[in-house]
Amino acid sequence: MSVRKKILFALAMGVLVFTFAASPLEAKDGGDEYGKVVKHLKTKYRAKKVKVPFMWLARFAVGVVRPGGVKSFNITLFDKLQFSRSTLDAEMNAALKDSLGPEWSPILRVRSREGDQVYMNMRESGDSVKLMVVTINKEGAAIIRARFSPEKLADFINDPKIFGISLNDEAKEQEKGKISEGHGAKPPSEPAQQGDEAKKDN
């Protein structure tokens, strides 16, 4: 096995270890709370879980890249919920109180008689913040949990970058301007060279 292959193998093993080691840690660190809320919707309202393709990949990517300071997230979607509009809010309040514990703070609660509900809760966890959002409407429900670092979020606001690629509109426009300037500087009599330069720029 060549040195290059050995390095690639070691990297692949590292990624695998990270993937499997990170998941139980996440479950221990609040996954249970999330699971309880998911279970409540699934059992109490006989909701059908909607599969989100490549969710594992998205979660893994977020775990590695940590965009905007988001360390981890989870989304569960349900449809065909069977609930009573008159008791849904009280049931959800009780379920969230039981599942989340006293360290969670309710930030936002929206309740409509039509059946639309939004519950947003937050808690601090070391240097991170955990956020849980539950939305329910006539058609379905979504449970979103995210853990993020406020400091990294501020850094991201200052300089929005993912994998070194700037998401800042101004920076993008500046880059575009540089490219167009580069094109403008080329003499019109050299079309072949111009094409090569454009390829290089891209």
Binding site: D89, S105, P106, I107, L108, R109, V110, R111, S112, R113, M122, R123, E124, V129, P150, E151, L153, A154, D155, I157, N158
Partner: protein, 190 residues
């Protein structure tokens, strides 16, 4: 003599450290009476932004390299909490006015001052803005709005810099506020 000065200094420090939050806490409204509106209301919105979330917002705002964000951080630096309750009803006068008057009665306590009130026959609208001061510093604001189909109560606890708020209006998703001298009476429609 020296120890007398020292203890006076310590007592003064304790007063400053412990006294400020207590004053700020006094500006909080008890919402328990409004819970009776819950069952009657068609839509309910409840917002609770207190210690943890405000600290988080401060932590983020302080780090953001933007002069406007720095001003927002300054504006919220002393805030202890922001609480909002909005109840919308399907039909007119579906709620008991006594429940709202109980909130208004809380704001008759010493320290609270009515800054503005609007009474309009259209939709049976009543808006009251109350402020609480500790010395020269505003330590709380309460807004009570009742209409034929809507009841809303906003309670902000902590020192509020009105000049800074006016300066920040229309920026960073803060709604535009037109504060003019002597404008309080303009909106009044008795």
């Amino acid at each position: 003599m020296r120890s007398y000065v020292k203890y006076t200094f310590i007592a003064l420090l304790l007063f400053i450290v412990c006294g400020s939050p207590a004053n700020a806490q006094d500006a909080s409204i008890r919402f328990d009476r409004l819970e009776q509106l819950e069952s009657k209301a068609r839509d309910v919105v409840e917002v609770n932004i207190d210690g943890k979330l405000l600290d988080l917002a401060k932590r983020v705002m302080v780090k953001v390299k933007d002069p406007e964000a720095a001003k927002v951080a300054q504006a919220i630096s002393g805030l202890k909490g922001i609480y909002v309750r909005v109840y919308t009803f399907a039909n007119e006068n579906e709620y008991n006015m006594a429940d709202i008057d109980e909130i208004r009665a809380q704001l008759q306590a010493p320290g609270w001052e009515r800054m503005a009130n609007v009474r309009s026959k259209k939709n049976n609208q009543k808006i009251d803005v109350f402020t609480k001061f500790s010395g020269d510093q505003m330590t709380g604001v309460a807004v009570v709005l009742s209409e034929a189909k809507t009841v809303a109560v906003v309670n902000v606890i902590g020192p509020i810099d009105l000049e800074l708020l006016a300066e920040m209006s229309g920026k960073m998703n803060i709604p535009r506020i037109d504060i003019e001298s002597g404008s309080e009476n303009k909106g009044t429609n008795k």
